[in-house]
Symmetry: C2
Subunit: 412 residues, 2 copies
């Protein structure tokens, strides 16, 4: 059995730990490491509540500075981990990947690496950090599966499924992420506010007409009518998967759309226009150097704290348009998740659930050998059927709308 190391102890890590604990037939020991052990211990206590003491006994907490690759490598060695699921801050990703390159362990993450000092680097984003290490992964035979959350991740597999099985030619890929849930706070972000706001303060890049296009946030809106969540407005948004899918499907337009309510947009607009979302330090009248965005993060609710009162559903999917047998066709592959069901199962809200289940499915596929590819890949580079079949059994079933018919994506 394969020992596993989880880096990070936030809301997504909680889901990862619970899902690992539900699959202890595949994993030996499950190690959780964060800057301090307190949040790891809390996750293990939560697993004990839901899955019992025998499952919890297979989990261990560790303290590690994840920006220190050597320290992470030592932890990989001492724990004997062969797979690392990195769901810590996006700032540490390449440091953890380096640790995997040192030790040969497989690497799985759910978001693109970010340089704390830079918001919105030049496209393609993966070219700035990840792809520079692709050759070394191949030479070392290290499996690195990038962006294996929901979006990026499952939505990439949806695009590949549509391209493989439903279309001869892909003309456009539109990923749509709608959270129709409600929590009980005046304002909160659904994941780390720092990462959340950084997504939206820079240029909105999309791949259209075979080239990178630039827009401002909230400049381009489109109304969608989606299963379960109904009519929703979503905005053209910069997002990780646009930067890998456009490499695999260079002739298709690739866009990402995220739903925002007017309240979110208003709060975001005030904070951004005042300069409070800046990642660059300012100096107070008293002479203290402070990064405004870090103060905004400090005053906002911990996203994990939203879970108990979160209600409603998410709908995240991929609309792929193209041709088949010379005819125009479109398919929409999607998942609907429920905040309350997620909380009841793993003590987390739906956004953490959709992000945290897929990397465990990926880890199971690496452990079984199906995805143990010994090189760097994005989810759309890998066969989608085994991944979607795993997710279907793990609480994230996929459905497909084609020719006006909405049906489950069935195992073959």
């Amino acid at each position: 059995m394969t020992n596993l190391l989880i880096i990070g102890a936030g809301g997504v890590a909680q889901v990862v730990a619970h899902k690992c604990a539900q699959h202890l037939d595949a994993f030996g020991e499950v190690h959780i490491a964060s800057r301090r052990t307190g949040k790891c211990d809390a996750i293990i206590a939560s697993v004990r509540d839901k899955a019992g003491p025998d499952a919890a006994a297979r989990l261990r907490a560790h303290a590690v500075d994840a920006t220190d690759s050597s320290a992470v490598a030592r932890l990989i060695e001492t724990t004997g981990a062969r797979i690392v699921i990195n769901v810590a801050s996006a700032f540490v990703n390449m440091h953890v990947l380096e640790a995997c390159l040192m030790t040969g362990a497989a690497y799985i993450d759910t978001a693109i690496h970010e340089d704390p000092a830079k918001v919105c680097e030049t496209p393609p984003w993966y070219g700035n950090h990840e792809w520079k290490r692709a050759e070394r992964c191949a030479q070392a035979g290290v499996t690195a599966i990038l962006g294996a959350g929901f979006d990026p991740g499952v939505v990439n597999a949806y695009a590949r499924l549509a391209a493989d099985e439903h279309l001869d030619e892909v003309r456009s890929i539109d990923i749509v992420d709608i959270n129709a849930g409600k929590h009980d706070r005046w304002f909160a972000t659904n994941f780390d506010p720092e990462i959340n706001f950084r997504e939206f303060t820079g240029t909105v890049y999309s791949w259209q007409g075979g080239a990178w296009q630039s827009n401002r946030m909230f400049e381009v809106a489109r109304d969608w009518d989606l299963p379960v969540v109904g009519r929703q407005k979503a905005y053209l948004t910069g997002h990780d998967e646009v930067h890998s899918l456009s490499r695999r499907f260079p002739d298709a337009d690739v866009r990402f759309w995220m739903g925002f309510g007017d309240h979110y947009i208003n709060v975001f607009t005030v904070l951004k226009n005042l300069g409070l979302l800046s990642e660059k330090p300012v100096r107070t009248a008293e002479g203290q150097e402070v990064v405004p965005l870090k103060v905004v993060k400090a005053v906002l609710p911990d996203p994990a704290s939203l879970a108990p009162a979160y209600e409603g559903k998410t709908c995240i999917g991929t609309l792929v348009r193209g041709t088949r047998n010379g005819e125009e066709r479109e398919v929409f592959v999607y998942n609907v998740a429920d905040h309350r069901e997620a909380y009841e199962e793993v003590g987390a809200q739906g956004i953490s659930y959709t992000a945290g289940v897929p990397p465990v499915a990926a880890a199971l596929l690496v452990a079984s050998g199906e995805w143990d590819i010994r090189r760097m890949a994005h989810v759309e580079d890998l066969p989608p059927r085994p991944f979607l079949a795993r997710l279907d059994r793990m609480g994230l079933p996929s459905r497909i709308v084609e020719d006006g018919r909405d049906s489950a994506v069935r195992a073959r």
Copy 2:
């Protein structure tokens, strides 16, 4: 001739310095002290531009920590200042007053003392800091004129004028502050953002029915139709002068109304609800202790920087209702100031102008002996006519509306 010391080097201090430079017949040397000399030097350079090198040669810059009473006292001694105009941050007021008590110099300020750690102390606000020192001022024979800006300050004199000359009995005093000017920034406060926001984050205290009444900010709105600026919405707001006027006129209702646009209210509401206006430190994920309000101040425009593009007018006045010869009567005494005229005269916007001219008028009255009362007083405790006559000649003329007739407040 009387040497004068100005504490502070912001937008109001700039106006004070210019107005002193216009009255060098009354003042000997004019000293300007701030934490660092840079802003003092800039003010002196501005005086040189407008009033010429001879006037500027009578001004001197100094560095002082105004929270250090002994240091301020030493500066008073070395400069030979007999009058101190304190227009620095409201956090230093009592430290500067202590320096005046040590040295015998007269003290004039324009805003109530604030404890950095407390927002909105229990009413009456002056009872928490200023009035505790009244007895010592009287014993030492130190003149201390509190709140001698426009509001508080001139509006208090307006209330006294109406009570003295137009009414037998005062039933209510409503101070109304409307800034109908526009600047070219997305958002800015007209004076120190820290002090500005602190005014509105606490309970709104008014004196009605012989007792303190509590409301929330923006809870009570009233439409006003005022001279020049026209129809304007203003909100019941906590303000310094309510706390002194209610002592002098305990049988009257005393309220303060400030005009706010929807944009200001929206920005304020977002910042307040997120906790970004808090004066209490928060801890970032990196462990840094930061006061959110100080970061908001750091990202907002320096109010002095608004001046070049500021256009439009302010209308600030006092509506006093009561009876005369048994009949219901009301009078509205007010001033209208123009942002661009202020900038052309002294390089500052209208809000700084209305706040900075009155303490110089008060200083002239102290220097002449008319207001050299050798005790602590509020403006409404002093004869209003000499003050209003000075202001009329110094760029802040007063007008009065009575029985539907609008006329200048003429010298007698």
